[in-house]
């Protein structure tokens, strides 16, 4: 028989190795990302002190005198993220409680796909919405609002990440054993007491994980802030002013505002490395919380 020869066995071996190589591409990608970012960042730090980079309070690489302090960009990212969470956490948790504790199956079947659609809409569309719809409204309410401002970008980013918070939190709440709810009802608890004092605390680490993962998405989001939040890095507490985030800065330089290979150009790799490490750390915490939760039940 054919299978007694060595040809099929050799073929089997080659195919297994080929498939293995394809799986290895993911490992290669991660190393390539680290290598490219480190390579660019190291050549940048040979000319700019790493201490200035992490402690400086001025970011002006494009005009003299040049300053390379990343704090204004970090603050810009943080400010927009805080505003986004301020929108997404109440909206997301509210929808999650409604879907898991109150809504009948038919309502869930309508609302869930709508929330899923929101995740699939390109972020450039959200950016357009922030600049041409939300900002003009803000300018009516607060006349001192500038055209590019952190608040508008933050609000719209909040709308964008709300479905992430609600769908992951709802999964966590649905996983709370029915017996816990029934025990509480048996003691005479009402629905809001069961939802807020039994389900929410039991699902707490799952809910926190959903918020942390949504936060990591907000930190890495690029187009909304590039379009609506401006390009003036500064340390300000006023959300009605323009700011700049790390991601928006990378976009600005990529669009050709600095000559290829120059020191100004290489800043995007040091900013990119900082962004990558922050998002990586936040994701690690989020996944750790999520795993802890799912092990619980």
């Amino acid at each position: 028989m054919e299978s007694c020869t060595n040809v099929p066995r050799a073929q089997e071996w080659i195919i297994e190795k080929l498939l293995f190589l394809c799986a290895l591409i993911s490992v290669f990608t991660m190393f390539a990302i680290l290598a490219m970012l480190l390579f660019g960042a190291i050549s940048f730090f040979q000319e700019v002190s790493i201490i200035e980079f992490f402690t400086g309070t001025k970011w002006t690489p494009l005009f003299k005198p040049q300053h390379f302090g990343i704090l204004p960009l970090l603050w810009g990212t943080l400010l927009v993220t805080i505003i986004a969470l301020g929108v997404a956490v109440p909206l997301g948790l509210g929808s999650a409680i409604l879907l898991s504790e109150y809504a009948p199956e038919q309502v869930r079947k309508i609302i869930k796909p709508v929330l899923e659609i929101m995740v699939g809409i390109p972020t450039v569309v959200y950016g357009y919405f922030a600049l041409t719809f939300v900002t003009p409204i803000l300018q009516v309410v607060f006349p001192e609002t500038s055209v590019f401002n952190a608040l508008s970008a933050g609000i719209v980013m909040g709308i964008m990440i709300t479905p992430m918070v609600s769908s992951l939190s709802e999964d966590a709440m649905l996983a709370v054993p029915q017996s816990l709810r029934e025990a509480a009802y048996g003691l005479g608890a009402r629905k809001h007491e069961v939802a807020l004092r039994v389900v929410l605390p039991s699902a707490f680490s799952g809910v926190v994980a959903s918020i942390i993962l949504a936060m990591s998405r907000a930190i890495g989001e690029t187009m909304i802030v590039s379009i609506a939040a401006g390009s003036t890095p500064k340390l300000t507490l006023n959300p009605l002013e323009g700011i700049q985030t790390m991601t928006a800065y990378i976009t600005q330089i990529s669009l050709g505002e600095a000559p290829f290979g120059s020191l100004e150009y290489r800043t995007i790799f040091s900013v990119g490395l900082t962004l990558f490490l922050i998002v990586f750390a936040v994701n690690l915490i989020g996944h750790w919380m999520a795993r802890r939760y799912w092990r619980q039940y």
Binding site: S3, P8, E12, E16, L19, F20, C22, A23, S26, V27, T29, I33, M36, L37, F39, L91, G94, S95, I97, L98, L99, Y102, I111, M118, G120, I121, P122, T123, V124, V125, Y126, G127, Y128, F129, T132, F133, I159, P163, R190, K191, H192, E193, L196, L213, G220, T222, M223, S226, I227, T247, I250, T251, S254, L255, G272, L275, F276, V279, F280, N283
Partner: protein, 282 residues
């Protein structure tokens, strides 16, 4: 005491309903806003014109064809690699530290911000492999970006193939590759295709990594080879939104309608495949 609790019970329901309605209202207003602004500008001239400094002569043709190039090449690269990786991890991989290392890696890659993939593409494809700011460099970058999504979706589809199918084939003397190719792959294919189409629709909407690769956005020609410079729909939309002249904002909105139209048709195909498959199983 008791009426107070009853009021609170209703209050929580009302608050949660308002939260849900507000998040859905966000989506509806967003779509209405784009359609109201863009629909009057959406005509054949818009679809068939190159970018222009005059709003009423400008169109999305170069960006639309650029997007088709990028998605076509990305599909060509990412589908075989993604499916092969998924087959390896589900059907072949031994349970050891290296396999779990690959798994952790894929999970981490899915969380990397898309702009970081743009930086990877600039360093790796544009500079090191000297592909320049070409369609090919863009498609390769996009391939790395959506591979984790395709792998995760394909693995789920492969895992849902009943074990009995494989055991039946092994009992008849089939080799592992024969089982994988003849039994597992055909049964898992609808699920794999659905996942791939959804991943590709993510690729069409991505702007950030494409901006770092393509940079220059004023492309007044239609690309004809993978080594040409290019623009894609999200970059073109970004470009129009950033233009201070109001008329360009309407062009951006018209571009958004075209982009959403393309996404909607791709998602419909994915849903159709899923639906046909479900019917066949019953």
């Amino acid at each position: 005491m008791i009426p107070g609790r009853k009021v609170k019970e209703h209050a929580l329901f009302i608050i949660c309903s308002i939260a849900t309605l507000l998040s859905i209202a966000g989506l509806i207003i967003l779509l209405l806003d784009a359609f109201a602004d863009g629909l009057p500008w959406l005509d054949f001239q818009f679809l068939n014109s190159l970018p222009s400094h005059y709003p009423d002569k400008a169109g999305i043709k170069a960006a639309l064809i650029g997007s088709v190039w990028i998605v076509g090449l990305t599909a060509l690269f990412s589908f075989p690699i993604g499916v092969a990786a998924a087959l390896y991890l589900e059907e072949y991989a031994p349970r050891n530290w290296f396999t779990s290392f690959i798994n952790v890696n894929i999970a981490n890659l899915a969380g990397v911000p898309s702009i970081v993939y743009g930086l990877l593409g600039i360093g790796l494809f544009v500079e090191s492999l000297t592909l320049g700011r070409s369609i090919l460099a863009g498609a390769l970058t996009m391939t790395l970006l959506i591979l984790p999504i395709i792998i995760v979706a394909s693995r789920e589809a492969i895992r849902s193939v009943p074990k009995a199918y494989r055991e039946g084939a092994y009992a008849l003397g089939a080799t592992r590759w024969q089982v994988t190719r003849e039994i597992v792959l055909p049964s898992a294919l609808p699920g794999i295709l659905t996942g791939t189409i959804l991943a590709l629709s993510r690729a069409i909407g991505e702007a950030a990594p494409m901006i770092t690769i393509a940079a220059l956005a004023y492309i007044n020609f239609v690309p004809t080879s993978p080594f040409d410079r290019f623009t894609v729909m999200p970059i073109q939309i970004y470009n129009w939104v950033s233009n201070p002249i109001r008329e360009f904002h309407h062009l951006a909105a018209a571009g958004i309608i075209v982009l959403l139209g393309v996404l909607l048709s791709m998602n419909s195909i994915a849903i159709y495949i899923r639906y046909r498959y479900q019917k066949r199983v019953r």
